[in-house]
Point group: C2
Chain length 439, copies 2
């Protein structure tokens, strides 16, 4: 779990912390280049960034997880087929348009891989494509292919920051996490701010390590890390068509301890999933729901997801309103629908560590109400400011001021399973962002 | 399905239409009375309305459906037990506080039933209680009991309007629908504006008829009507702890044709469910999703629900932004998660009757985009106006200006099942309403 003591008071301070996290593991190079284009579907100019993450030498040790959405993007379709290749040498990523169900989308992505491969001197099937952005539009293939030599010319082996910056869409800031271990490191970057309820993977996450972990062990480790991080979070309950998590090892540094590697990878993934939530569209509060004493992991995770996906509970948290009735509604909604046999009679609920429900009844009074309001206020990232045009809300800060969460405890006392689910509130800024995202 | 040609240009015009709908069936009386109280949990004065719906003579012909939420309110617990009573004589309803998991909540509701029964000269077990409003708070029992004689004194047999007005919370207007049939009638009223994804029932709906339908036939008819109306709608995906639908027959008019009765009851329920959506918290657009060619009803309903419950699609519709990529995302999210075997390759999607997706690909160009924007604008109930304090949005009208919907067609060409699902967009007004609902 990320440190809740971390504090930033300005964008510059956050950028300098990010730069310190960004040092690349041995054996990787990263580059990005921006260019202008006009989508075929609307006649409004836009800008896109092409990003390349390259290995000095293609590696056998790579792993990837993809969305379970039944309309996957073309890069996901290609990415799945790359899993059976012998080696992977690079990832080519664009933002702004996600290349989902577009005419000849797979052909377009394959030709972009071929252009990247040619510029890098490797094979097309050694390149994994990723796209994020508007669903349904066509990629500006010619402009993207033209930008790739410039992207490859920009490759450098110092910092992952150009890639963390290059892959964003509506994100307010780049997301980078690292763990140093046994003379090597794991460095992860993430893109994601909306359409986030990952299912076996999240929006776009790239995990780079020089620690030598063989392919099968790396794939198992990634499954484990994703199950407890990206698969236990939601910003809006919408599962993207493009969710992709990739782990690459350059195998440059011996890995003496696979268990330590697993713990480090888990840490990077949990930290990134919290970063994604914290930077979710319009997020004022990150909500952390710890469910314990559940009869099974599906019950624990489902209850946590139901709480963080309840629009009414999300709105109440946004307004610093401890409307704990909606918390109970969200638990009862899920259990009544999915697991009606689960015994809720011994459930104990806490908010900010304070007991609010036990023995089937609420424990509410003026003092508790005041304490819960204080807890919500302490976890607020920012308050809304009236928009200049009266209607269009924008977050007033471009960095995370702290890492505190609204802490919800749900102990069912009905078994041994537990789960921590990360979610967010729902705000005017989310509505403004998404009522006309494409304009 | 409600007429989409219906138009109202003012609140007065809508009220006079409601009054014409409100004529009570033979054998019923309705009364309501308001009173002030202060919740124990916060020290802010509020007002509540006590409403009574009474039969001239208790009836054997009554039916009720209740929420599947695993934390049901005290009135739901009592209501379930009333189903096995010989007769029902009255319903006593309060708004503002829903009496869910409150200390001695069942005892409180039983004592309120007893007070109502005493004022009406019937037995306590012949009274069904209903409560709606804040979850977790305690009912102001003494004040409510004190208000009941006044409520009973106000009983009259002309109009259901006092009850339709009395049961609302955040609703902008009362909801009444009627069908006249064979010399009798069915008149229904509904309360509901938030926490609406009913599951076997919706928030509060009372269906009164003088047509003589025996208990078992009435119960079967209500199941059928609810399955295609209240169970096919969602405003925010949150299933209330208090959902209740009651049907009462005074048996005053012979019912010559049970099939015609079923059709009439279906019509009243579908109309009310559309009214509930149209009057949903902050709703700018009602969305009607017609799913056809599905391999089963669960697939058809699930796809429709996934579309109308997608926060991203809801926000796009609110902004008159035809972001149809999010429509495809929402379909794929549900099918990938719940029915991964369903073949989507022949799916054809339409919006406003215009084909936007076929053969696995989008069909998008400038002209289609313009047509879709025009369709969204035509279905808009109102546009947001900048709030006086810069932050707190309120709907600018208190009546439904028309009954047009955003029309989505999803033909899977993969079976014979179909379903129409009603939903809504997501707006600043919803956020404002729910960020501090209890204040």
């Amino acid at each position: 779990m990320a440190s809740t003591d971390m504090r930033f008071s300005s964008r510059d301070e956050h950028r300098s912390w990010l730069s310190a996290q960004a040092r690349l593991p041995v054996g990787f190079r990263v580059g990005a280049a921006g260019f202008g284009f006009t989508p075929v579907e609307v006649s409004k100019p836009a800008r896109m960034t092409a990003t390349v993450i390259a290995l000095d030498r293609p590696t056998e040790a790579f792993a990837a997880l993809f969305t379970k959405n039944a309309f996957p993007g073309a890069p996901v379709i290609i990415g799945r087929s790359r899993l059976s290749e012998d080696t992977l040498g690079a990832i080519v990523i664009n933002n702004k348009i996600s290349n989902v169900c577009a005419p000849d989308g797979v052909g377009t992505s394959e030709r972009i891989c071929a252009a990247a491969a040619s510029a890098l001197g490797i094979e097309s099937r050694q390149v994994l494509p990723s796209s994020t952005g508007v669903i349904g539009w066509r990629l500006p293939e010619a402009a993207l292919v033209q930008a790739l030599p410039q992207t490859v010319a920009a490759l450098q082996s110092e910092s992952v920051l150009p890639a963390a910056d290059g892959i964003v869409t509506t994100d307010l800031y780049a997301k980078i996490r690292r763990v140093d271990l046994a003379g090597g490191s794991i460095v992860g970057i993430a893109k994601g701010a909306g359409m986030i309820e990952p299912n076996l993977a999240t929006m776009l996450v790239y995990l780079l390590t020089d620690l030598d972990v063989p392919r099968e062990a790396l794939r198992a480790s990634l499954q484990h890390a994703a199950a407890m991080s990206f698969n236990c979070m939601s910003i809006d309950g919408d599962t993207s068509t493009s969710d992709t998590v990739v782990a690459l090892s350059s195998r440059a540094v011996a890995c003496p301890d696979l268990l330590a590697f697993q713990r480090a990878l888990d840490q990077v993934c949990v930290d990134l999933s919290e970063d994604i939530a914290r930077n979710g569209e319009g997020v004022h509060h990150v909500i952390r729901v710890a469910v314990t004493g559940a009869p099974g992991i599906e019950v624990a995770r489902g209850i946590g997801k139901s709480v963080v996906n309840s629009p009414l509970f999300q709105c109440a948290v946004c307004g610093n309103d401890p409307n704990v009735g909606r918390l109970v509604m969200a638990i009862g909604k899920f259990v009544g629908e999915e697991f009606p046999g689960v015994d809720l009679s011994r459930a104990v609920l806490t908010m900010g560590g304070r007991r609010i429900f036990a023995d089937g009844r609420f424990i509410l009074d003026h003092e508790t109400e005041a304490a819960l309001v204080a807890h919500l206020r302490s976890a607020e990232l920012y308050a809304s400011t009236p928009p200049a045009d009266g209607l269009t809300f924008r977050p007033p800060i471009g960095y995370p001021p702290h890492e505190r969460c609204v802490e919800i405890g749900i102990d069912l006392d009905a078994g041994g399973a537990s789960c921590v689910v990360i979610g967010t509130d729902r705000s005017h800024e989310y509505i403004s962002e998404n009522a006309d995202y494409r304009s």
